[in-house]
C-alpha cells in the first residue's frame, strides 16, 4: 500500500530532514517529529518555510526536519535577530525557529525579549532541558533551585521561567508543553504556525544524558508523572469553522469549552480540565506561571493568547512585494532624482 499522502500529494517522509545526530531518546527528536507531522498534516509548502536556530543541541535539529526548506544555524543566542532580518527581507516566508534554554535564557535573553517586542511573526520553539548538553552538563538558567548535578554540584540560583518572560515581554501566543506529550505539542504547533505574531512554545524536552534523573523537573519520569495539561486542545481549521457549532461537544457542558478565534479564521478549541484558566486573560496567565514555579506544578498548554499586534513588517509600512524580490527599478531611483538632490545642495 502506498504511504498516505497529504493534500499536496506528498508522503510524510518528504518532510523529513537528515538523520538526527542527537543522543538516542533525546526529547528534541520527538519535537522534530511533531514539526514534520504538523507540516505534513497541514500540507505546508517547504520552500515557503525557513528554519532558524542558534547554537546548542536544540539548534542542530532544523537539519533533521523539512529538508526542502532553507535553514540557518546561526550564532549562539542570536537566532532572533537573524530571523528578523530574513523575515524583513522576505515577509512572505513562514519561519519555524528552534532554540534552547541556554540559547534563549542566558546568552540570548536580550534578543528573545526584543524579537517579541517587535512582534516578528514566527514560531519560536524553546527546547528546554535545564542543562547545557554540548559542553557536558552545566546548569542552564532554567534549572531548578536546589537541583544537584554530578559535575556541577548544587544549583543555588532561582530558575528563569521563559514562558513568563515571554508574557511580560508582550508576546501574544505563549504555550508550554512536554516533548513526551506528542498530541499536545502537535496541537500547539498547528495553532502557532497560524498566528501572525511571535508565538513562543516553551517545551520541556528531557536531556537523556545529563539531566534525566527522576528528581529533575526536566526529566522524562518527572514529566510523565507530573504534567498537568490546562486543557485538551483541538485545532479547528478555517474550513471547519462553519461546522463548528455542529461539532459535538461530547461530555462537556457549555462553558467548559473555550473557542479562541485566530486571525486566519481558525479556532483553538480548549476543553477545560480541572482548572479555570482562560488563556485570553493575561493576569491569569501570569498567575498560573508564578504558581507553577512556586509550587513546582508542571502546567502545560496554551498559557496566553491575544489578538496579534501589528507585525514588524506592518509597523515598517513596507510595500506588498517582498523586499528581496524588488525589481531594479524599485531599488534605484532614476537619474533625475539624484540630479534634483544634487541641485538642492548647490550654491546657486
Amino acid at each position: 500500500m502506498p504511504p498516505r499522502a497529504n493534500h499536496l500529494g506528498l508522503a510524510r517522509n518528504k518532510y523529513k530532514g537528515r538523520p538526527s545526530t542527537l543522543c538516542p531518546g533525546c526529547g528534541h527528536d520527538s519535537i522534530s517529529n511533531q514539526i514534520i507531522s504538523m507540516a505534513w498534516e497541514l500540507g505546508l509548502e517547504q520552500h515557503k518555510i525557513i528554519k532558524m536556530s542558534g547554537i546548542g543541541c536544540s539548534s542542530k535539529t532544523p537539519a533533521y526536519f523539512l529538508g526542502g526548506s532553507h535553514g540557518f544555524n546561526a550564532l549562539h543566542g542570536r537566532m532572533p535577530s537573524v530571523a528578523t532580518g530574513a523575515l524583513l527581507a522576505n515577509k512572505e516566508l513562514a519561519c519555524i525557529a528552534v532554540s534552547g534554554d541556554g540559547d534563549t535564557g542566558s546568552i540570548g535573553m536580550g534578543q528573545f525579549k526584543h524579537v517579541i517586542r517587535r512582534n516578528v511573526p514566527f514560531v519560536y520553539i524553546i527546547e528546554n532541558n535545564g542543562v547545557y548538553g554540548l559542553t557536558k552538563g552545566q546548569f542552564s538558567a532554567t534549572a531548578d533551585e536546589g537541583q544537584f548535578l554530578k559535575y556541577y554540584g548544587t544549583n543555588h540560583m532561582p530558575p528563569i521561567d521563559l514562558a513568563l518572560e515571554a508574557v511580560i515581554a508582550g508576546c501574544t501566543f505563549v504555550a508550554r508543553s512536554f516533548s513526551g506529550d506528542a498530541k499536545q505539542v502537535q496541537a500547539l504547533l498547528q495553532a502557532a504556525v497560524r498566528h501572525p505574531g511571535t508565538s513562543v512554545l516553551d517545551i520541556i524536552s528531557p536531556c537523556v544524558t545529563f539531566n534525566n534523573a527522576e528528581s529533575s523537573t526536566k526529566s522524562y519520569p518527572y514529566g510523565k508523572d507530573h504534567e498537568i495539561p490546562l486543557h485538551e486542545i483541538q485545532i479547528l481549521a478555517p474550513d471547519y469553522v462553519d461546522a463548528k457549532e455542529e461539532i459535538t461537544i461530547d461530555d462537556y457542558e457549555e462553558g467548559d469549552i473555550i473557542d479562541v478565534e485566530m486571525h486566519d479564521g481558525s479556532f483553538i478549541r480548549l476543553k477545560k480540565l480541572d482548572n479555570d484558566h482562560d488563556p485570553r486573560n493575561r493576569r491569569m496567565a501570569m498567575e498560573v506561571l508564578e504558581r507553577s514555579m512556586r509550587e513546582q506544578i508542571f502546567s502545560t498548554g496554551l498559557l496566553y493568547y491575544e489578538e496579534p499586534r501589528p507585525t514588524l513588517a506592518d509597523t515598517e509600512e513596507l510595500v506588498d512585494k517582498p523586499l528581496a524580490m524588488l525589481e531594479d527599478r524599485d531599488l534605484r531611483p532614476p537619474k533625475q532624482a539624484l540630479d534634483s538632490v544634487m541641485r538642492s545642495l548647490m550654491a546657486s
Binding site: G68, S81, A89, G110, E316
Partner: protein, 610 residues
C-alpha cells in the same frame, strides 16, 4: 568700548588677504553654535568661495569646550590648517589658549566680558563686542536668547570680512527649511551685531572675503549623508543599527532619503530597525542578506567589536551584507567624537580564525556616494560582507565636492539561481551544491529562501561544511573550503576599486595613504614641489590590496605611508602582503584625534628625508 584703547598692530603696510584664511570658533558645547557656524560656511559657499568646516567637538551634550574650524581657500584647498588666522573666542575657559594659538597679525573676536582676561598680546587685533548688552536690545523672547547669542559673532564676522547681510538671511532661511520666524529671529541678532560692529570697531586686519566663482556647480554635504544617499541608490532595503557616534547620522541620512524610494502610497522599500545592540543589528543584516535583501548597518569601533562573531559567520557562510565603520578614536571608548584611522587592521581581519574581510576606503564625498551603492554589488557578487571604512572627519564634517555621478553600472545581484536557473544548472553539472565552485573563481551559486524548487533548500551554518552545505568535520572538506575562500579573495582584488595613482613625475619619493588624508597630502605635496621636492602618490581604495601597490613600492626609492593612527596599520598590511624588498617603506603616523594637516605632513616628510 571698542578697541581704541588697545595697542593695535600697524596694518597699513599689509597687503589685503582675500579668500585665503581660516577661522577657529571656540564656544561651549550645546550653546547653539552649530547653526552659527553652519551659516558662516554656507554663506561663504554661496559667495563662491571654496570652503570647508570641521567640527572638533567633545563627547558631551552641554558645557564642554568645542571648536569649529572654517577654512576659505581661493585655491580650493580644503584640509584643516594647523593654525588659523582668526579666532572667535566665545568660551572663557579656553580663550587664553585660543588667543595664544594665533599667529602674529591674527584676529580675536570676542565678548567684552571675556576680553578682560585675554588682552595679553600686542601683535594681534582684538575686536570686542558687548554681547550681553546687545542681546538685551533684541526682541528675541528670553527663552531663546541663549540659543541665538552666538549669532552675534556671525554679524561681526559678516561686517568685518564682508559677507553680505542679505546672503546671511538667505542661508538662515535655508537652514530653517524656509521657516521665516526662526530665520528672522536669528537674523535680528546678526544685524544688530553687524551694525554695532560697523559703528564701533575699527578694522585693523587685512582679511576679507570677496565673491568668486569657485563653488559653481559644486555641493556641500557630510560623508555620512553622501554614503547614505549612495546606499539608497544602491538598492538598500534592510537597515539595522544601534546609535553610536559618529555613525548615527549615517542612518539619519537613509531615513532622510528614504522618500526617494517610497511608492505612490508612501510605502517603504527600505526597512529600518533600531536594534537593541550592535549584535542584533549585525544579526538582522546577515539574516536579510541570506534571504536576498540588500542589507546595511552603520557603526563605529565599539560596535564593530560586537559584530565580530557575525562578521566571521557571514564570511564563512558566504552571506552578503554591508557594514559601514565610521571610525572614531579607540581603543575602548577612546575619544568618541574624534577622528581616527585606527580600525583598519581590526576591520580587515574581523572574525576569529582565518578571515579577511573586504574593505572599501572612501576618502571624499564622491567615493562615499559611489561606495554607498557599489558596496552592495560587490557584496552580492562576492557573497561576502563588505566593510566600508570611513571616519568621523568624512562622516560628520561638511565637505565640498563635485556633484555625484549616477551609478554607471546596473545593479548586480551576483550568482543567484531561481528555480529555472537551478534546473539548468543541474542539467549542466548533474547536481547543485551551495558551495560548489564550477567557475573556478571561488564564487559558488546560491539559492534564496522561497525558491520553488525541491532541491533549492540548503542548511546554512558556521560549522564545517562540504560543498553541499552538509555538516562536515573532515579535514579535506575544511581545507578545500578555506582554499576556495582564499581564491575568492584573490578574485576580489581585481573586482574592487583600484588605487588612485599619480606617478606622473620621475620622483624618488612615493606617498601611499588611504581615506581622508588626501586633501592634506595634496596641499603638502604642492608645498614640497615648491621646495623642489617631487613626490608621487598612491591612495588605496580597497582591501585586500591591489597588485599595483607592490609595483608602486618597487618604483620608488623611498615610500612614506601616511596614516592617521598610531601603529601604521596600512604599513603593517603592506609588509604582510609584500614582504619582499620593502625596507624603504616607512610609516608616517599621527593619530592625535584630529583631521590631518598639510603642515604636519610637510614637516614630518622633510624631517624624515633629512
Amino acid at each position: 568700548m571698542a578697541i581704541n584703547a588697545q595697542t593695535q598692530p600697524k596694518l597699513d603696510t599689509r597687503e589685503p588677504v582675500i579668500n585665503d584664511f581660516a577661522f577657529s570658533v571656540a564656544t561651549k558645547n550645546g550653546s547653539g553654535s552649530q547653526t552659527s557656524n553652519n551659516v558662516l560656511v554656507m554663506s561663504l559657499f554661496r559667495m563662491g568661495i571654496p570652503v570647508n568646516g570641521k567640527n572638533l567637538f567633545p563627547s558631551n551634550i552641554k558645557g564642554l569646550p568645542t571648536w569649529y574650524t572654517i577654512r576659505a581657500s581661493k585655491d580650493g584647498y580644503t584640509a584643516r590648517k594647523a593654525m588659523t588666522e582668526i579666532v572667535v573666542a566665545y568660551n572663557n575657559s579656553t580663550a587664553t589658549e585660543d588667543v595664544a594659538n594665533l599667529p602674529p597679525g591674527g584676529v580675536c573676536i570676542t565678548t567684552d566680558k571675556i576680553a578682560k582676561v585675554i588682552r595679553q598680546r600686542e601683535d594681534i587685533s582684538y575686536y570686542e563686542m558687548p554681547v550681553a548688552k546687545l542681546m538685551r536690545q533684541t526682541k528675541v523672547p528670553s527663552a531663546f536668547r541663549k540659543l541665538v547669542e552666538n549669532m552675534t559673532y556671525v554679524g561681526a564676522v559678516a561686517q568685518l570680512f564682508d559677507i553680505p547681510l542679505d546672503l546671511v538671511y538667505e542661508v538662515l532661511l535655508a537652514n530653517f527649511k524656509g521657516r521665516e520666524k526662526p530665520a528672522l529671529m536669528n537674523h535680528e541678532v546678526v544685524k544688530l551685531a553687524y551694525d554695532w560692529t560697523a559703528d564701533n570697531i575699527l578694522k585693523t586686519d587685512p582679511y576679507r572675503f570677496e565673491r568668486m566663482d569657485g563653488t559653481q556647480g559644486k555641493i556641500i554635504m557630510t560623508g555620512n549623508d553622501a554614503g547614505a544617499l549612495g546606499a539608497v541608490f544602491g538598492g538598500v532595503n534592510v537597515v539595522a543599527w544601534y546609535p553610536i557616534t559618529p555613525s548615527t547620522s549615517f542612518v539619519d541620512g537613509i531615513i532622510g532619503f528614504r522618500g526617494l524610494r517610497q511608492n505612490e502610497d508612501k510605502e517603504n522599500t527600505i526597512a529600518i530597525v533600531q536594534a537593541e545592540d550592535e549584535l542584533a543589528a549585525a544579526g538582522i543584516v546577515v539574516g536579510a542578506g541570506w534571504a536576498g535583501g540588500r542589507s546595511l548597518t552603520s557603526t563605529s569601533g565599539p560596535g564593530i567589536s560586537l559584530m565580530a562573531e557575525f562578521a566571521g559567520l557571514a564570511y564563512f557562510a558566504e552571506i552578503p551584507a554591508v557594514f559601514w565603520n565610521i571610525t572614531r578614536m579607540g581603543p575602548s571608548t577612546g575619544l568618541p567624537t574624534r577622528t581616527s584611522q585606527g580600525d583598519l587592521l581590526f576591520t580587515h581581519f574581523l572574525g576569529h580564525g582565518d578571515s579577511r574581510q573586504i574593505c572599501l576606503l572612501p576618502g571624499n564625498l564622491k567615493e562615499a556616494f559611489e561606495f554607498g551603492w557599489k558596496s552592495f554589488d560587490i557584496s552580492e557578487e562576492l557573497q561576502t560582507p563588505v566593510f566600508v571604512v570611513s571616519d568621523l572627519d568624512l562622516g560628520m564634517n561638511n565637505w565640498l565636492s563635485e556633484p555625484f555621478d549616477y551609478p554607471d553600472q546596473p545593479i548586480a545581484r551576483g550568482k543567484v539561481l531561481d528555480a529555472n536557473a537551478l534546473n539548468d544548472f543541474i542539467d549542466q553539472h548533474g547536481k547543485w551544491g551551495r558551495y560548489m565552485d564550477v567557475d573556478g573563481d571561488g564564487i559558488a551559486y546560491r539559492t534564496l529562501p522561497g525558491t520553488d524548487h525541491r532541491f533549492a533548500g540548503y542548511f546554512t551554518r558556521g560549522t564545517g561544511h562540504d560543498e553541499f552545505a552538509v555538516y562536515s568535520e573532515r579535514s579535506d572538506d575544511w581545507v578545500e573550503n578555506m582554499t576556495r575562500l582564499r581564491l575568492k579573495m584573490d578574485t576580489a582584488r581585481d573586482m574592487l576599486p583600484q588605487p588612485i595613482i599619480d606617478d606622473a613625475s620621475d620622483a624618488d619619493i612615493g606617498i601611499i595613504t588611504f581615506g581622508t588624508n588626501e586633501e592634506a597630502i595634496r596641499e603638502a605635496r604642492d608645498w614640497l614641489a615648491n621646495d623642489g621636492i617631487k613626490t608621487n602618490y598612491l591612495r588605496v581604495l580597497a582591501l585586500p590590496l591591489a597588485s599595483s601597490v607592490s609595483e608602486f613600492i618597487d618604483a620608488h626609492k623611498s615610500v612614506f605611508v601616511i596614516e592617521n593612527n598610531f601603529d601604521g596599520q596600512l604599513t603593517q598590511l603592506i609588509r604582510l602582503e609584500h614582504p619582499e624588498n620593502i625596507s624603504h617603506v616607512r610609516p608616517l603616523t599621527l593619530g592625535d584625534g584630529l583631521p590631518m594637516t598639510p603642515d604636519w605632513i610637510y614637516d614630518s616628510l622633510k624631517e624624515q628625508e633629512g
